[in-house]
Symmetry: D2
Subunit: 348 residues, 4 copies
């Protein structure tokens, strides 16, 4: 039934025209079989010119106009996290497919409720774990999946931002685990193809005292135990002065697969002082530029072909459960088991 | 006078809707302050749907309709090489700025005549040496220009295609030097900031006998002597089975700067058999994808701001003179001096 | 007093002529101001020819002959671990300087007792943490010490063997932490210049069930908390099929320093299938060949110049305390604090 | 007959105890089945202590004492180039096997005469092209020989010294081609397994005017044409400020094989300013330390087993013929054919 509506061209509406909403908009207008029809923002006046230039027909302050529009097949939810769950429910009830930025909510219970409604209405929901669509990370995933390194034994993820967000943002961010490491929790599940059973956190506030002030940490080493027997570790920092540091390594019974950072150029300069090359790409907009394009392209293709999504609501939910356990581990100073999975209930 | 016409939005027409014409079209439609108004092709019926999707208003079999269109400020000449010189003349006379694919013609004399007319009419002409806009090559150029490696002593350029073109194409290509090495001759001038005085070629036909059949070679080592005292070498092959091989190294009194190829990913797989990574990007469309975007962006900016072009008609002419001398060197088996420069006459 | 005996040429005796004892012997004979006078082994008959070829004057079944020899200034203890502590005591009482392979003993108490006697007799004791003398690891240490990366925040050590030892060896090895990770505990202290306060282990038996059988693990992720506020992680495996994997990364407030593995060659082969290079050096004899030479050279220099050792008895003791805590953490499934330091008592 | 003399232990004498003579001595004393019996030098008084420490029995001012010693099976000729040919003749007549540093002489005729005498007396002669025994270069050779890259099409050799020799040395060096590029001519033959037919040189004096003063160049690009159809290029500089630059690449019908320089460490330091690593090994003593060891080991093994040498007198002769042709090409400004090979006469 939903399937019937997506015959020729998909009509899309975007809720939230901040940086990430605009990024998705500019990628969507270049895709075949897609019309980006509408965009909403509470400060819509700031984006009207930009929307006109892109040929977006409708701009509005009220996201409900997008959800109620009978022509629109799918919505992108790019508004602040605390609005996601409510909008997901409304969109699902209006039979729209949904792309939602991560995390779905700051509360695993709230996320679970939203996903149940998505399931009841038979719409598709993709969560914005953009790194699954990165050229490097995807090839690591494929290499493991194809058995080239045998059974995974050890997974190592490095994930460091070039600079901390503003204090204002930190306060409302949900903390390091929900805001930043959540991508790494998803990556751990994605590259191993296994659920996480237990997590232990060693955290510290070494970058800026503001994190401590808000009960947060800026530096962490997170140990993971997987259902398939593998073990893993994530290291996070809010400030890598040399740029965005995004690496993963999976070590297994038949070998290992690892990636290095992307750099703006391959230039090497050799002088009397040494050999120099570029720092890594500065931050996620540079590093994941192509990943964002592919993320939307794959979402659209799955809608058009009614095929399984690469990254589902359940993926968002599981990552939140790990983030929740990580926070508890930090507070309690000991390993914490991940809550019993309810994934049998939530099927994308 | 010409300047006055480019106040707000530049209107562009493209002549020739083959692979490269379409590539430029798709890049132009995304640029600010540009309207891609028209495209012509002798088989225009094949591209009408594609042109409509991109919002190009006019499609035509006859390139003269583009040149005569009084609204159009600049034309892209993407038709076969043997048509370039004539179209340049007509476009210049019609007061259009010109972007022309390389080479301008197969005859240095014909190129010179075309460039004189460009100069007489005060229009700008950019030649399609796309590699000048590549992230890697540009940084080599900048590093040398900024004096980081001192005076250049040795320049080394590797330029190998992944596979030879069809026999049909080889026959009409103008030969290895005019068709393929011409990019490398331009690169040699670009990274050193110096003219080439003398060239010596050691060539061979090792890849496919069809090259020999057409009096051509498929493998070459080309020695260059520069006006500034530096010496250089280009090595070319029509067939590098591992993919497009595009590297440069400039060695000087204070150090060296070198680039490696771009690869699709940074993935490394370590097994009992060895350590593996991706082959380089397959060919020029993959390697220079971003360079083509920047090439047009810079051309448009120079038109809008009436500023000097990065790559002029004279750059095209000089590269052709080197190609001509290279062909003579191959035939004569000895070094050949480049013809006296006429660059004082041709100012872009 | 001890100092007086080492005026011109140092006379050395080696206890234990197994693989590592012979390695030290072959390095010692090439050093200036050193005479390797004697070697003992319970199967001395196997090494007499080899010793003659090297010009070693005395060979004996009885290590006491070495310890009692009044000409000998220093002894190398290269016998099995369970003999180290007793031999250290006897050598110290005989006023010999001591080089002892790691670990000093399988019991922190026993090690402590041996070190007290070393201290009482004023002899020097160097423990065989050969990696401190490796070209790569030493430069990481120096880079951190010189402040180039600011305050250390995160330390990551990868340490994987190419293949597990024989079952016989595993049984008597003292377990992963005392036998293998002890090098990494020392490396963690060496590169950060800080003591470890707390350790948490996530271990698994994924390589071979024999480890489980002996109450051991073959795969581990070990989280460390340092006195200076930094946090760290070690990952260990008994079997990396691609070869010995020995890397470290220190990430700090001003940058990071990291090493890659050494490879037998720098050769890269590019074909239609991909780009290949050598696996890392196979195991510690290949990787640390030069480190063993430098280890002895530095030990001898410190004796000749009466200068502080790079790697002391206390360094051996501290690493054993961490290994002990790691074993407890694995058994208890929670983080364990390192025992109160007694380093004020033990001064090298 | 000669074979009979080398039953158990080879006795060796070295002529010339300069830097390279001493290097060979220190390597030889560590080899099995070898006794370094004697060393001669016109300033023998400077090396007597060093020789005693190494256990060399005989030291003398007169090289003839070595050649006449009936116990000695083989001699190393490490004296200045202008003495090599005469000593080779005398040694051959005395039935000694010979290791001779490169070049054999400054005159192809003189070299030829010496090699004829070597042949007449049935002794073996190895020329000191140490790079054939380097881990990297040897693997390139093996990769080509095993057919992994198919038929060689293009060979590229980079060979740059870190700093020019003293003016005194330059004057008597025989010039860039005979002194420095001769190693590269040999490398070209070694990695391709083919003779060189023709050479063309583009040279310049950019590093120091002293080279011009002595009719020499300090910078060169040398094009080679091989018998097997391949073409090649060598680039030389007397001064690479970042250190010794020694690379080779062979490109063929099925792929390519290339090496990078060796570096003292694999350390990478990432800061706000960029990513840094070590310069290459400083010069040949660092880069080829192990190659010198293997060079002697292989020479000794070939003598003991009476097996063919890796690097013969004819290899020395051919490289000299190419050097001679290169010099002529530089003087005449055109390609020069290599003199007809006389290798049928000279068999090692």
């Amino acid at each position: 039934m939903v399937k019937e509506t997506v015959k020729h061209t998909l009509k899309i509406g975007i809720i939230g025209a901040g940086r990430i909403g605009k990024l998705h908009a500019e990628n969507l207008v270049l895709l075949d079989k897609v019309e980006l029809k509408a965009i909403s923002d509470i400060y819509v006046e700031n984006v009207i010119d930009w929307a006109n230039k892109l040929g977006i027909k409708k701009t509005t302050k009220d996201y409900k106009e997008i959800i109620k529009d009978p022509e629109i097949n799918a919505v992108y939810i790019c508004s602040p996290t605390n609005t996601h769950a409510q909008m997901i429910k409304e969109a699902a009830e209006a039979k729209k497919h949904i792309f939602c930025e991560k995390p779905i909510s700051f509360s695993a219970e709230e996320t679970f409720e939203a996903l149940k409604i998505v399931e009841q209405h038979g719409v598709k929901l993709q969560v914005g774990f953009n790194r699954r669509f990165d050229h490097n990370f995807k090839k690591v995933h494929d290499t493991v999946k194809n058995g080239l390194i045998g059974d995974p034994h050890i997974v190592k993820i490095t994930s460091r931002d070039p600079e901390p967000p503003p204090a204002e943002y930190i306060k409302a961010s949900g903390g390091l685990f929900m805001d930043m490491a959540i991508h790494d929790f998803d990556m751990a599940r994605y590259v191993t193809g296994s659920e996480v059973e237990e997590v232990y956190v060693q955290g510290a506030s070494l970058v800026d005292p503001v994190f401590k002030q808000y009960g947060d940490v800026d530096t962490a080493i997170i140990t993971l135990k997987f259902e398939n027997g593998a073990i893993g570790v994530i290291d996070n920092s809010r400030k890598a002065v040399y740029g965005y540091d995004q690496r993963v390594e999976v070590f297994g019974s038949k070998g290992s697969v690892a990636i290095q950072n992307d750099h703006p150029t391959t230039v090497e300069i050799s002088t009397m002082q040494g050999v120099y090359r570029d720092k890594p790409q500065y931050f996620f907009l540079e590093r994941y530029k192509d990943a964002y394009v592919i993320e939307s392209r794959e979402f659209i293709q799955c809608l058009l072909q009614d095929s399984p999504l690469v990254c589902t609501g359940n993926d968002g939910y599981q990552a939140e459960l790990i983030a929740k356990a990580a926070k508890e581990s930090l507070q309690q100073g000991k390993p914490v088991k991940i809550e019993q999975f309810k994934s049998e209930i939530i099927k994308p």
